[in-house]
């Protein structure tokens, strides 16, 4: 029942997204700009960790894609709420988890697609990384997107007015990006910043993907990354489902 309803809703939202090529490609624009205009600056710099600059930058851009893309997923639920679609679905017997997962899986699929696009463009720029590492990277994008989209829906439903949503997300996403070392590895950071960075979950995800991109799959950094990503997703889906039950009231 849960699988059936989730697949049904995923199909509806995936079809809606496919009808909007703008939505599909626009989200990849910001990381692509970083790739073109920021990536070349790093090629000759000592970045304080193993791997060349592309193996360090591209994992960061993949997670930046998930971080900024999925954080704004909540906008769509604000629209659906104002159309009455959200309540119309909540009054059906479909499980609240399926209502959330159908949407969240669409988001995850969208951002993984954009991540594939980004990697394909990064290869001619100079990226060389083992295929398993690249696939592991996509797995992390999927988990991060699912987690952040769930939290974004919950936040969008909790906020008393939709105007507060955009500023709230920016306020949360900017420090998350800076503190996780997405752009430059935290290996360059002074001690206090490195400690602060370890307090954000995203730090562990970036480190894990960077390890995978240099062919290290069984190091503690990868293990921590997997554990943090799974924990974050489980927590986020629980919070999201609870909010769908009460509509944030």
């Amino acid at each position: 029942m849960l699988l059936h309803d989730t697949a049904l809703l995923f199909g509806r939202y995936a079809r809606q997204t496919l009808r909007s090529p703008f939505q599909i490609f626009f989200g990849a624009l910001m990381p692509l700009l970083y790739l073109f205009f920021f990536g070349p600056l790093l090629t000759g710099l000592p970045l304080g960790r193993e791997g060349d600059s592309w193996q360090i930058l591209v994992p960061g851009l993949l997670l930046q894609l998930g971080l900024f893309g999925a954080s704004f997923a909540g906008f769509s639920i604000i629209m659906e709420k104002s159309w009455g679609v959200f309540d119309r679905m909540r009054v059906t017997p479909v499980s609240r988890l399926a209502l959330l997962l159908g949407r969240v899986l669409r988001d995850a699929a969208l951002f993984v697609f954009q991540a594939v696009l980004l990697v394909l463009v990064a290869v001619p720029m100079g990226l060389r990384a083992p295929l398993p590492g690249i696939l592991i990277g996509f797995g992390f994008v999927a988990l991060l997107s699912a987690a952040l989209a769930s939290l974004s829906y919950a936040l969008a439903l909790k906020l008393p007015s939709p105007q507060e949503f955009g500023p709230a997300i920016n306020t949360l996403a900017m420090p998350a990006m800076l503190l996780s070392g997405l752009m430059l590895p935290m290996a360059l950071a002074p001690g206090w910043l490195d400690v602060l960075s370890h307090l954000t979950p995203f730090r562990y995800l970036v480190d894990a993907v960077r390890e995978a991109y240099i062919g290290h799959y069984t190091t503690p950094a990868v293990l921590y990354g997997v554990l943090v990503a799974l924990g974050l997703t489980a927590l986020a889906v629980t919070v999201g489902t609870r909010t769908f039950r009460s509509a944030g009231a």
């Binding site: 309803d5 049904l8 009455g84 119309r88 679905m89 009054v91 059906t92 017997p93 509509a247």
Partner: protein, 257 residues
């Protein structure tokens, strides 16, 4: 055996400064096959009450049984037996009439074939057949309302909740909707609970009226009984007397513009 019964059903919202008691405690009994009109001034708690009875909003106090199931303990069972049409409707502007009706059927557990057949059946019933492949934003107000109703009736609910179903409709569309509500009750025995601000609508349609003010029930009875109890010629006068606003004073001074 009532199909809806509530005892002290209440909802308090935690406001930014102080808690707001939207519904203070509603005691309500609805008999099967009855058309119940829920009246009350703006902000009286009508919509909040409907949102609780339809499982959309968890109550903060009291208890209720809807269609034989406990509202709080078994909301999923309640959902299978009720239909709800919100004031704003519930149509996605990115979809067509057909895709909305089919999805709705599938959300109620019909397979693709049966959901498609049900969509066409509902379209015939609600005069939407010609519109099946239109995008929903292309519908007129009356057509949208009929589609909203079709969505709410997809699973042949025992109880249909309508929140201000005729607000913004032209007189012809209103008359169509009234006829439809009567037909539902007469042919299918559906219980209908509707809110409205149009007292002629309540008078014409409802078997019984419940007036809510400031989050509690302040009067109930058939339209005729309410009029008689307040010596009023129209339901409007009775309503004004009940909610303490009195009949509008006749002012003879000219309006200064």
């Amino acid at each position: 055996m009532p199909i809806i019964s509530t005892a002290g059903l209440a909802r308090t919202f935690t406001g930014r400064s102080s808690p707001v008691e939207a519904v203070r405690g509603i005691d309500l009994t609805v008999r099967p096959g009855e058309i119940l009109g829920l009246l009350g001034p703006n902000g009286a708690g009508k919509t909040t009450t409907l949102r609780m009875l339809t499982t959309l909003l968890p109550p903060t106090g009291g208890a209720a049984t809807v269609a034989g199931h406990d509202l709080v303990k078994d909301p999923a069972a309640v959902r299978r037996r009720i239909g709800y049409v919100a004031q704003s409707g519930g149509l996605d502007p990115q979809e067509t009439v057909r895709s909305e009706l089919v999805l709705q059927g599938r959300l109620y557990g019909l397979d693709r074939t049966r959901a498609t057949a049900r969509a066409e059946e509902l379209a015939v019933d609600l005069d939407l057949t010609e519109l099946l492949d239109r995008p929903t934003p292309a519908l007129s107000g009356g057509q949208r309302r009929r589609l909203d109703l079709a969505m709410g009736l997809t699973h042949r609910p025992e109880i249909l909740f309508l929140d201000e179903p005729t607000t913004g409709l032209d007189p012809g569309s209103r008359a169509d909707l009234w006829a439809l509500v009567r037909r539902l009750r007469d042919e299918h025995g559906t219980t209908v609970v509707l809110t409205t601000h149009y007292l002629d609508e309540a008078d014409a349609l409802a078997d019984r009226i419940v007036v809510v003010d400031q989050g509690t029930v302040v009067a109930e009875g058939s339209p005729a009984a309410l009029k008689a109890a307040h010596g009023a010629a129209t339901l409007q006068d009775a309503f004004l007397a009940i909610t303490g606003r009195g009949p509008a004073p006749v002012d003879t001074t000219p309006v200064a513009v």
